[in-house]
């Protein structure tokens, strides 16, 4: 049997090998340089963030035992041995949880309506004027970059303590986020129907209503549902700054070391978020078919 692999002459081979080695070495050097830079950035960041490994390791036991403590009742038993005692405040908590859901629902809907009103001005292909496009885009950018809890902090002072501040904070943040997503859908829409409608002499408003809206409305609803999911999470911490919902109860429990309450409230939040995720996922699938699921 002969070996079919042809061997290149020595001279040619050395040249090729050298070129290969050079190429690999350059790639490795770049990778090494990138890694060194990244590690340097991490070290600088570690100094900046006052990372202290000694406190971390001496107190890490605390982190593990924290979960042990929140799963223990005042009587010293495990929480699940006495559900009545564990969820003693379930009436109050469920009421607050319902308030949380309502805050996120109302906030999302107001946000979606505002975003709906603004998004045609923020899409390059439908904006009636360039300056309007610029202004609306900056406005939306501002609304989405400032975190909703910062809005909540300010609104609590302006509108007083309570869920109203939370709703408005979530609404404004959602307007920013949804406005951007909505306008992106509009930019991807087919413009031929718009031309068709415009050629019949229709106004800008009719063009939007009869040519753009039918193409984009399903996408809007899908994004709004997704936003609702996110907002449920956000609304659960609005209470930290006094803007309504279950967060109020949670921060009190954590700060005052009511251990078993912490686990009970956390568990209700996790289960709710989980159910909402499944529910909206199901609804999106029902409404828009499986391709609209992200």
């Amino acid at each position: 049997m002969t070996i079919a692999v042809s061997i290149l002459p020595e001279q040619q081979l050395t040249v090729l090998n050298a070129a290969y080695r050079k190429a690999v070495a350059r790639k490795r050097l770049r990778l090494l340089l990138g890694t060194v830079l990244f590690i340097a950035a991490l070290l600088v960041a570690a100094v900046g963030a006052e990372v202290n490994l000694r406190t971390f390791f001496t107190h890490f036991g605390n982190f593990v035992s924290y979960f042990d403590r929140i799963l223990t009742l005042d009587t010293g038993q495990r929480v699940w041995t006495d559900l009545g005692e564990w969820f003693w405040g379930w009436r109050k908590w469920l009421k607050l949880l319902a308030e949380t859901l309502l805050v996120s629902y109302v906030g999302t809907l107001i946000g979606a309506i505002l975003a709906f009103g603004l998004n045609f001005f923020a899409a390059a292909n439908t904006a009636p004027a360039r300056w309007l496009l610029f202004v609306v885009r900056r406005l939306l950018e501002f609304a989405r970059t400032v975190p909703s809890i910062v809005f909540a902090l300010i609104f609590v002072i302006a509108f007083g303590l309570g869920p109203m501040a939370g709703v408005l904070a979530i609404a404004i943040h959602s307007t920013g986020a949804l406005g951007k997503l909505f306008s992106e859908i509009v930019e991807n829409a087919d413009m031929r129907p718009v031309e068709g409608v415009r050629s019949t002499g229709a106004s800008w408003l009719s063009c939007m209503r009869f040519a753009v809206l039918p193409q984009v409305i399903a996408g809007y609803a899908s994004y709004a549902l997704l936003r609702f999911e996110i907002n449920v999470r956000e609304a659960s911490v609005m209470g930290f700054v006094g803007a309504g919902g279950i967060g109020q109860e949670l921060i009190v429990a954590i700060r005052k070391f009511y251990y078993s309450d912490v686990s009970a409230i956390l568990l209700t939040i996790i289960v709710t978020v989980f159910l909402i995720d499944i529910g909206t996922g199901w609804l999106r699938g029902r409404l828009f078919g499986s391709e609209a699921r992200t």
Partner: protein, 282 residues
């Protein structure tokens, strides 16, 4: 005058019965859903104590606050704020990196093509889900109890909550990877570890790098807020200045955050482009 061609509506109706005679349930479904959504909205507004007078008073107050914010002015605390901003960026960078390091091995366990048995995969997935179900702010509160007030608690909070998110995203990236390369390694006699290292990782790492960069971006935003509960960074300053109603400082801090986030967006966008090209991340 041109005339439209005669349309035989009777025949059309006969041919497409479900276009012309939609059952009442189909015609009423959309209006009914809209009405229910609106009814819930109105109920919510009433239940959450919305009243026009309160709203108008609040907007007035808000307008007054906005007037007080202009012009933004840091007073004499600019160095302090710059340090706080540095702290925030450090928290975002370190937290995200830590999360990615720990999430990578766990995400392998949650991926269908690595662990085919649902019996083992299911608990890992639920574990990641429950970590994601808890907001970063809550994790920050827990870590403050453990390592004390300060930015370190913020790093750990971001690390834990992103660990859940990364675990899910990475495992999806791994499941989307091409199996042919893995099979090639197996065919040439590689072990399971070789399959992962030489078959999967080269495909998955660029995707993961893109996701990590994207999260560093979004964590700059999260890192600004965990200060509100005492976990360091610029959020701490912001919350304090809001509480003492120093509106000029507040607007200055918000401006700083906006500029920092825009800068990070720009840089990580460029890096992402260099690593994975123009591809959507999430």
């Amino acid at each position: 005058m041109s005339r439209h061609p005669e349309v035989d509506t009777v025949q059309l109706r006969a041919r497409h019965p479900n276009v012309f005679n939609r059952p009442a349930s189909a015609r009423l479904a959309t209006p009914a859903m809209l009405a229910a959504a609106l009814a819930l909205l109105v109920f919510g507004l009433v239940d959450l104590d919305f009243s026009p007078s309160r709203f108008v008073a609040g907007v007035n107050q808000l307008g007054w606050i906005t007037m007080m914010m202009i012009p933004p002015d840091p007073g004499s605390s600019l160095p302090l704020y710059l340090k706080a901003l540095g702290e925030t960026l450090s928290i975002a960078l370190l937290g995200t990196t830590l999360a990615a390091l720990f999430a990578l091995p766990v995400s392998l366990l949650a991926a269908r093509n690595i662990v085919p048995s649902g019996f083992f995969r299911f608990p890992v997935r639920r574990f990641l889900d429950s970590i994601r179900g808890v907001d970063t702010l809550i994790w920050a509160l827990v870590w403050i109890n453990v390592v004390g007030l300060g930015p370190f608690a913020g790093v750990l909070a971001i690390a834990v909550s992103d660990f859940g998110a990364f675990g899910k995203l990475f495992s999806e990236a791994i499941e989307a990877a091409d199996q042919k390369e893995v099979e090639g390694i197996r065919a040439s006699g590689g072990s399971a570890l070789h399959e992962i290292r030489f078959g999967l990782m080269p495909q998955v790492l660029p995707v993961i790098a893109g996701q990590v960069l994207y999260y560093i971006e979004s964590n700059t935003r999260s890192a600004t807020i965990i200060g509100i509960v005492g976990a360091g960074g610029i959020g701490l300053q912001l919350a304090e200045q809001i509480r003492v109603l120093e509106w000029q400082k507040v607007s200055f801090l918000i401006l700083m955050i906006l500029i920092a986030v825009a800068a990070i967006d720009f840089i990580s966008g460029k890096l992402r482009f260099a690593i994975i090209g123009r591809r959507p991340v999430v």
